[in-house]
Symmetry: C2
Subunit: 397 residues, 2 copies
């Protein structure tokens, strides 16, 4: 096996405003994201040689991409729950690295606001149901599943629940601040720690502002061979590593699971660091977009990815390490918390922010002299996760 390092580049990206897009159908969102990416890369739809579409609930098969009119090329749907957007980019990257496609479109979409797909409705999720389908367990909800992490983390590291909740509130406040600087974010309101602490409880100890947005949206990337990238633009970004680890336990809640880390996050990030030649991620990664479906997971990701020491994320949160002006800014665009979380689009939305940051084009959210950016996109649950990590840079090694 070899690494994908410096074989593949991203030369254009697009992203719709996320949020309540009552006026837009799935096709409208796809067109909006794709045409921004085409224009950004300086290409026409006819230049796309193959496409990968990521969506969980908003389409079946590549024909969902019909509104783009990409006639008679290969178009494939990929899906891996909330990591679906990253999977579209991963599939396109492999085809380009294999040399069988020179210009690929990776695109993801989800309409969630008007379909009610937030809990048990819609097609099933995990497991092997009595009726022969693989379906979600009745009564499952994402907040309740991730709430376990918070309670256990507080207990393991001897925090009073209210102190722990305050720490999570700090993460929400940071992401709301970043989101307030982002016109494409679902939520652009500033909040205070006090507001977050007093917000209605969703699944204790997680309250309203610990939970990410349920949103409509689409995002897209134009992927090419690294050696062709400068034909498209002077400032492409290069894929240094991409990694996926699926924690394929049968059912999320196994007896030996510690509920204070996700082994999938650890494996995916360590594999990516090895491929990218990164020894100290805390020092070498310039900025990161991570999967803050719930604030507690952003906190655990700090530790799982080596941004903070195990059990000591608190010190870094309190020191402001992950704020826009900190040593390692995280979720500079507002994250899932404020940008929103249209499942099939989120992984590509993360890359959209990194792409702009690495090229110095992130406006009021710009971090200083970034060199390497990271996206971390989780699917599934604590205990049965699908963790995808991309590392990208603005120079070829």
């Amino acid at each position: 096996m070899e690494s994908i390092r410096d074989k593949v580049a991203i030369v254009g990206m697009g992203c719709t405003k996320f949020g309540e897009r009552w006026d837009m159908g799935v096709g409208d969102l796809l067109v909006e994201a794709a045409y921004e990416a085409f224009k950004d890369a300086g290409i026409e739809p006819k230049d796309v040689q193959a496409a990968w579409l990521g969506t969980v609930f908003s389409g079946i098969s590549g024909i969902t991409l019909a509104p783009l009119g990409l006639q008679y090329i290969p178009i494939t749907r990929v899906e891996n729950m909330c990591a679906t957007g990253s999977e579209a980019l991963r599939a396109a990257s492999y085809a380009v690295a294999a040399g069988v496609v020179d210009v690929a479109l990776a695109i993801g979409v989800e309409k969630l606001k008007d379909t009610g797909v937030t809990g048990v409705k819609g097609p099933g999720l995990v497991g092997d149901n009595p009726d022969g389908t693989a379906g979600i367990a009745p009564g499952y909800s994402a907040p309740a599943s991730f709430a376990y992490l918070a309670s256990r983390y507080f207990s393991e590291y001897k925090m009073k629940p209210e102190d722990g909740r305050k720490l999570l509130a700090e993460i929400a406040v940071k992401n709301h601040y970043n989101g307030s600087l982002n016109p494409k974010a679902h939520f652009s309101n500033l909040i205070t720690v006090e507001q977050a602490m007093k917000a209605p409880i969703v699944a204790y100890p997680l309250a309203l502002f610990d939970c990410c947005g349920v949103s409509d949206g689409a995002a897209a990337a134009i992927v090419t061979r690294a050696d062709m990238a400068k034909n498209f633009r002077p400032d492409p970004i290069y894929i240094k590593a991409l990694s996926l680890a699926v924690g394929a336990r049968q059912g999320a809640m196994v007896q030996d699971y510690d509920f204070v880390h996700l082994e999938e996050n650890v494996r995916a990030s360590r594999n990516a660091y090895a491929d990218a030649g990164i020894k100290d991620p805390r020092k070498e990664i310039s900025m990161a977009e991570v999967h803050d479906c719930f604030t507690v997971h952003e906190m655990i990701v700090y530790e799982d990815l080596g941004f903070a020491k195990r059990g000591r994320a608190k010190e870094d949160i309190e020191a402001g390490t992950f704020t826009l002006k900190g040593d390692l800014p995280v979720n500079t665009d507002g994250g899932l918390k404020c940008f929103g979380h249209p499942l099939g689009a989120s992984g590509l939305r993360m890359m959209y922010e990194v792409y702009h940051q690495l090229r110095g084009k992130a406006g009021p959210r710009q971090v200083k002299n970034p060199r390497l950016g990271l996206t971390h996109n989780l699917g599934g649950n604590a205990g049965t996760g699908i963790a995808t990590v991309f590392i990208v840079g603005n120079e070829k090694s």
Copy 2:
């Protein structure tokens, strides 16, 4: 762009019996198919470095593969309606050709008998519905959609409907004969032309025996780099070409569509022939597994793939060209008609037969000295199809 020719090999395959598998869940079928493939390739589950799972209705995300216990490796779900099984093999092939994976599992599964997913039930299919989801049009049924092809073909080529129906019956009789030699097929009963002609009409002019089985089943392939293949077995098969063409019209029934050919079939096969260096498929292809969801589509595929002249499939059907002892045997394992059609598994099931034929291991169905085999797997509909073509050979060029 370069061809994938001779970069990737298949070194092991597995396939469950297809049919009414009331006793087996999705996980059981996956385990049965995968372990046959592992054993056939002489590998252990731990040797699998990445996996792609194809399923339309029987799972969401790679976690559906949990019963195999492939912990912390990349596992991705791919989907392209009835071409989903071929997509799993295509994704694995690209990753191997990119050099990022040396040993990959491509696996597909579907449980259809106990979920009622044959018409409108289950998640939606094509289109951009008013509720923002991409869903099947109300009242859609596959037999009715493909029936248009038959009526129009008979008219275009000036056949009396009963003569046309007799021609289709000949295809069903051939596939039932082949299926009768195949212990893994859903249906193993012999039928006569008279029986097929007198069977209940499903969607005129298509009757019961013109329609493929609705089945449960799973199939799997172990994919490696071609230069490593003989480390696994002395007789691997090599991928000469793989091609996908999506006819991304918005909605199936457009005004300029002729209903006697599928442009997607033509494009996918011509691209594959070019990559494999095939000039005359009728002479160079030794045997083929094609997408006979309905007998009329097998007839049209003969023409679309260049096995028969346009409008003249009749001559070849009557000459027995596509029977086991004919010049170009098609659907030697019984096809979708008799082997059955568990959507996510079918593309891999086709390859399972070709793999055995090319290695001289197809038992009573063995064709003489095959050198090149073809699989053709369609998703979607006439007019909005997803056509996948693989060409494989038993020697490196």
